[in-house]
């Protein structure tokens, strides 16, 4: 063993260990200022550790952990947004403490849970064992359930309960699917841990029983799809986004949905490697398109600003799942890019929305007007964010959507019609709402915002850069992954 490889293993361990240590520390420490700082510092360290994965040599895939081209992207994105959200959270939570919506005891719990959640998500990304991945996804989900209910209002409890019930259905289906995968693998690979190791599964999947794989994938798609927020199973998502603390909404939209998506992708790769199994594409495309069109229409009748952006998340998850379902280098590339862009943009929007809702003391769209006049920094941030998420050039989301639409027209022209239709409907809805919120007659409180603009604008800047110029190494990297995904 050479020294660099040892160091690389340390990087993976660090990505996992830092959140755990931080969670333990935060659970024990009183005081708000110090804990918020530790939260930020821990998130930053995790992000640094994740970045080091790029440069260091990767460890050989083991029974439990794996680092490959696909999950590095997810991990880095995850830790980056986790870091910026912790920055935003520090200023957001201070305000909540002032207004008395949260008590210091709540806060300690909140910070500890935040790190546990980061740990769960990172673990899900680096796990090479489908059982371990399941455990990690569940861990992340349960912590978010707890955080969604943290305000203890009627609505928050209802949202958390609904999230919990639907989430547990997802839990059950996903585990059942996992067991079925194991059963399919067991005759070929043999009993024991090996039959759950993803890298081994992919190598030998061609010999698995295709019928069992098909059923397993359907369960996995339903199970993890519930957590992605795909259309028939999305009911928890708007409530959970609207009622929890806004940093959690940002993390839910920006990260947790990606975790579930990552799980679906892993199994999609698995299934695609077996020539006799059903092709997962049509299933995913159907669910994606349904989510897209459904959520696009739902956008029109929202009265709650966070709920509206939650539906927008469903819409974009639909687009991404559709892209990966369509498959092929171009569509996969578009899906990957779109996922990154969506995470960045949507969390930026939630950063803005969080501060806005705090200033106005409400989340009702009708009570929020004329923001560019009263709070230009926040208002324009929101305008840019919404423009980006609606797919206006020159932002990165436009780029990925453009790639996807052109790829769809080239390969499945018929499907392009509902796709473009859904995109346009959502575009109209978002702009309609945006004009009122940003440019209407100012209404409500005008007190200056005590906000941290750095997280929001750094995200938006990245999205803008991605829309104008993608660095060739990144493009090459993404293309490589896109080929990997088939």
């Amino acid at each position: 063993m050479s020294a660099p490889s040892l160091f690389a293993f340390d990087a993976v361990a660090a990505v996992l260990a830092i959140p755990v240590v931080a969670a333990a520390l935060l659970a024990l420490m009183p005081g708000y200022k110090a804990t918020a700082r530790i939260n930020v510092a821990a998130s930053l360290l995790t992000f640094a550790a994740a970045l080091s994965l790029f440069v260091t040599e990767r460890p050989a895939p083991g029974q439990y952990l794996l680092v490959d081209d696909l999950n590095i992207v997810f991990i880095v994105l995850n830790t980056f947004v986790g870091f910026t959200t912790s920055l935003f959270s520090a200023s957001y939570i201070a305000h909540e403490l002032e207004t008395g919506r949260l008590t210091p005891a709540n806060l300690r719990f909140y910070h500890a849970m935040y790190q546990v959640m980061m740990f769960g998500m990172n673990l899900a990304f680096v796990s090479n064992n489908i059982g371990l991945m399941w455990v990690a996804v569940e861990l992340a989900t349960l912590t978010t359930v707890l955080m969604v209910g943290i305000y203890r209002t009627h609505e928050a409890l209802e949202a958390a309960w609904k999230y919990f019930i639907l989430g547990s259905v997802g839990i059950a289906f996903a585990l059942f699917g996992t067991i079925l995968i194991y059963l399919a693998a067991q005759p070929v690979i043999g009993e024991g841990y090996d039959a759950m190791v993803w890298t081994l599964l992919v190598e030998r999947v061609a010999a698995f029983d295709p019928a069992l794989l098909n059923v397993a994938f359907i369960f996995l798609l339903l199970g993890y799809g519930t957590k992605v927020g795909l259309a028939p199973l999305h009911a928890w998502l708007p409530d959970a986004h609207a009622e929890g603390p806004t940093p959690i909404s940002a993390v839910l939209s920006g990260l947790l949905l990606n975790v579930a998506l990552y799980a679906v992708l892993r199994f999609k790769i698995l299934l695609a490697a077996n020539p006799e199994a059903i092709s997962p594409g049509p299933l995913m495309m159907t669910m994606g398109l349904t989510s897209l069109v459904f959520a696009a229409f739902m956008l029109y009748r929202r009265r709650d600003i966070k709920r509206m952006f939650a539906y927008s998340s469903i819409e974009h998850m639909g687009i991404i799942v559709f892209a990966f379902g369509l498959g092929g280098p171009l569509a996969n590339f578009a899906g990957l890019l779109h996922m990154v862009m969506h995470s960045l943009t949507k969390s930026a929007i939630f950063f803005a929305v969080g501060h806005i809702a705090q200033i106005k003391g409400t989340q009702r769209l009708s009570a929020i007007r004329g923001l560019t006049e009263t709070h230009p920094a926040l208002g324009w941030g929101l305008v840019i964010g919404v423009a980006a998420i609606a797919g206006l050039p020159p932002m990165g989301v436009f780029m990925s959507e453009f790639l996807l639409v052109s790829s769809t027209f080239a390969r499945q022209p018929l499907l392009a019609v509902p796709l473009v239709f859904g995109l346009l409907v959502a575009f109209g809805a978002l702009l309609l709402r945006l004009t009122g919120v940003a440019f209407g007659q100012p209404r409500g409180s005008r007190q200056p915002a005590d906000a941290s603009y750095l997280p929001m604008y750094s995200h938006l800047l990245l999205v803008l850069i991605a829309g104008i110029y993608l660095p060739p190494p990144l493009v090459a990297w993404f293309q490589h992954i896109a080929n990997l995904l088939r």
Binding site: V135, E158, S168, A172, L175, L183
Partner: protein, 222 residues
């Protein structure tokens, strides 16, 4: 170890779980539901222990013991206590009639049998049956969750659904311990979560009827 008697006992225990799941659909009293759930978990314990014996897999005994301690004793007793303490209405309100629910349940059992038997023609007959029954129990648990309005009975539905998962995991030969322990853990965590919720719900309103929560939402949206 194979043989008609080994097979028959496993078959009876797993099939018994399906039957008890149907019985849970039929209950209209909370206490009775809890008792039936305890019976359900007891059958699960026996079933898992039997699988451990047949497969010669000692780690499954641990799973069985966890099921016995938590799901047969601790959780039903705790829920009994909770119902008494919170003064929860003891009748279960259903969304649709019991007859229709049971008919749907039969449909789900038929579905899972058809699906699982069709996709596993080459598997060991014991595993096949186990999977078919496990999926039935899972779907029936889901049905309980969907058709009951009361939070406690939804919780019970969830736990019976977990029982189905444990059955499936135990039936899959040589499945590593990680998963079983994690299942037990998730149940535990889930229970803590639920417990916290029930108490919080109680703090805020005088009911654990989930419909009350819907009413709140309805008013807000007006």
């Amino acid at each position: 170890m194979q043989g008609p008697v080994y097979f028959d006992i496993a078959h009876m225990l797993a099939g018994g779980l399906v039957l008890v799941s149907m019985m849970m659909l039929y209950q209209d009293r909370l206490y009775a539901l809890l008792n039936v759930f305890a019976l359900h978990s007891l059958l699960l314990t026996l079933s898992v222990a039997w699988q451990a014996f047949i497969q010669g897999a000692p780690h499954l005994y641990v799973t069985a013991a966890i099921a016995l301690i938590f799901k047969v004793v601790v959780i039903p007793v705790a829920l009994h206590h909770m119902i008494r303490k919170l003064g929860i209405h003891r009748e279960i309100e259903t969304v649709v009639g019991i007859g229709a629910t049971m008919l749907a349940g039969i449909g789900l059992v038929a579905l899972s049998i058809v699906v699982m038997l069709r996709v596993t023609p080459e598997a060991d007959p014991l595993t096949r049956e186990d999977l078919a029954f496990a999926l039935s129990v899972l779907l029936l648990g889901l049905l309980i969750m969907v058709t009951r309005r009361n939070a406690v009975s939804q919780v019970v539905g969830f736990m019976s659904l977990e029982n189905g998962l444990v059955l499936a995991a135990a039936g899959a030969k040589g499945m590593p311990l990680v998963v079983e322990i994690s299942v037990a853990f998730s149940i535990l965590i889930a229970f803590i979560v639920i417990g916290v919720f029930l108490f919080r719900i109680r703090e805020r309103f005088d009911t654990v009827d989930v419909r009350a929560l819907d009413d709140v939402r309805g008013r807000r949206r007006k």
